[in-house]
Symmetry: C3
Subunit: 310 residues, 3 copies
Amino acid sequence: MLKGRHLIDPMDFTVEEMAQVFDLADKIIEDQRKYADVCKGKLLATLFYEPSTRTRFSFEAAMLRLGGQVIGFSEPGSSSVSKGESIADTIRTVACYTDIAVMRHPKEGAPKVASMHSDIPVINAGDGGHQHPTQTLTDLLTIRSEKRRLTDLTIGLCGDLKFGRTVHSLIKAMSRYSNNKFILISPDELKIPEYIKEIILQKNNVEFLECKNLESVIGDLDILYMTRVQRERFANEDDYLRLKDSYILDCEKMKKANPEMMVLHPLPRVNEISYEVDNDKRAYYFKQAKYGMFVRMALIAKLLGVDELC
Amino acid sequence: MLKGRHLIDPMDFTVEEMAQVFDLADKIIEDQRKYADVCKGKLLATLFYEPSTRTRFSFEAAMLRLGGQVIGFSEPGSSSVSKGESIADTIRTVACYTDIAVMRHPKEGAPKVASMHSDIPVINAGDGGHQHPTQTLTDLLTIRSEKRRLTDLTIGLCGDLKFGRTVHSLIKAMSRYSNNKFILISPDELKIPEYIKEIILQKNNVEFLECKNLESVIGDLDILYMTRVQRERFANEDDYLRLKDSYILDCEKMKKANPEMMVLHPLPRVNEISYEVDNDKRAYYFKQAKYGMFVRMALIAKLLGVDELC
Amino acid sequence: MLKGRHLIDPMDFTVEEMAQVFDLADKIIEDQRKYADVCKGKLLATLFYEPSTRTRFSFEAAMLRLGGQVIGFSEPGSSSVSKGESIADTIRTVACYTDIAVMRHPKEGAPKVASMHSDIPVINAGDGGHQHPTQTLTDLLTIRSEKRRLTDLTIGLCGDLKFGRTVHSLIKAMSRYSNNKFILISPDELKIPEYIKEIILQKNNVEFLECKNLESVIGDLDILYMTRVQRERFANEDDYLRLKDSYILDCEKMKKANPEMMVLHPLPRVNEISYEVDNDKRAYYFKQAKYGMFVRMALIAKLLGVDELC
């Protein structure tokens, strides 16, 4: 039963509960019109203590496409709600006006604190470098929809594997499904943290391989999940310049990839995927954004318990 | 007849007109669904020349819960509408697009000026330290709903009585109902202004008492209206530190209060009410926020004249 | 067929296509209720990379009055969508969530670039000093509605004719209708650019006259289109002070005007039209703002192809 629940950590839901969300997303995709009014009379609060236009748009579009309405703020300046006020008081006030809240906050744990004082469901839309569970739902729905399974996949994760929260969450989430294998492609400076390897991968007997070169492994992948390699992560400019090209996906590298391989990216992309790749039918990153809206529709409907109306 | 009227000063409405708003609020609370579409096709403009997320949320939620829609801006930066343009021109343009407007402005009198040039109802959502009439409506609806009367009450007002516009408006408004008595609890630095005592209280033969100590009078109160004591109001830090604890409500002080006493606060609260008090059934300040939304629903419906549809 | 088209340049539509938009606007004005739900289930994105509250309000009100919904951002600060991301990627993401987009951008050409990568219609809501096609549609609908024709008119354009993009677009647009004549009233510093005279007016054999004095020609005009004369356009303060009064419209000058002359202004007005003129029945500039909303309703409905439902 997901009605009335919060979503703070990508692992808050069991595999079965995630399947419920994905199943509903499938139905929405199949017949969107049927769900066009299920949230009539419901209000979503979008509490963005730091700007994230893409994520905010996705949530707001999701709620509006379910027939609900939205109030909110989109950056710190407008959040007078927070001036000297505790997160607890803010969410209790917001809960007087709305039926469900989405919170983005620069501080880790803020959405968790909110959920502890809230009568309405709270969704974490990103808290610092910590969690971003609806990105994980997006990634999984995209894979499930396009590959027709969440098991038996070889998943390449490429770029900044040290700081990327989407990558860590994706590994955790996909490790719960059987027989997936990870290929972790990054420069030494940006390798996956040890705790992910120990606690998630080794403990669960998940097969993985670390390497530095995308080109050498791209042929083995069912999924290539690209992330940004940021200049500021490197101690010196030379290292950055020497390394960055290895982690840029272009048509040349795509030639060596499996014809069924999917390229994913959480967006925004800067230059880690060449524009020329956009026309390759294996480029799924914009379609992925669309799945992001659908999975949020399903999530909101589930947490509000309105999907039973259909 | 409230249709087409403005609300700029809390005293713009007669006691009878306020009763009409409260009666409608009662009906909305009783059967919210009945009013879910009365504002279909109507547009509210929220013109916030200074941020006030809480007040804006309350108005926007009110309009959306009536089936209307909202456009607006939420802080000075986005109000290009105002660049070099007069308030008169702004409201005349806004009136081309919308059916009713809410204005928050740092300058006293700005909403009044707007109302003088507007074909659509204008609601003052706070103009500097001047007026905030919907806070007063909120306070009165809360008292009326929970105490079942607006007369024969002993009302304690505690904290900063000098600068608090909500306190001044509440005194004015409650002085119009028979047999209310005020206990004004504040340090010398933050006593109620003389004009309030002379023009409002003495002139209307309203009983009142000034004192410095909350604990000594809390047992006599039907209502305790708390406000913030701001550090910056004191000439020196020592005075602030010496005095602040006397004006912090905690469970210890609540023990001496009447079992039926209501604690109200316009929010946001900083530290003038201890968090431990939140669990006391006499703490009404979050419920008060909810009444704030309902009274705004009633107000909007009345000014648009759509309540007659029900 | 306007369905699925973009509107970037005021001249993107033929005279016939503009007539389709105006005809629909007429119908909407006649029976707004009939169109109250034609955009149900549709989402408009308002992408304002620089603030323009008036234009944003007009578009948002238009969409909401058609029964559609709106998501968006209203100033650069909140547009994290754009952080390091190309306009192409932004619009492709936005197109995942919405059905039509409006873009305001400080850089000339940005909406054009967006339209080239977009699956959904893109409307230019102003790009730098370049184009603002819906202002031109507004101006033409106002003239057509009030004068019952777009031909055989003597149009005075007064003030800053050098930098005013609305003036340039209005000249281009009105030059496509037969027998219109322009009187171009400005100080030497702010004369119409040569290319407008050569390429638009002379090439199309459109009659025009340049002069410096409003009072001497006001009696000849069917339409007087006022624009702001900005202090910062002048090399020295003396020139500004010497000239500014000649370009301020007041009741004294209105006495010499034709009793049927229309005064238009794109707003915001600063001091180029005295407030006393507002009460003159020939002052149409606020009514013009209202036509602006109606023409945007018609435009959105046409680009989405939903007007055929009525």
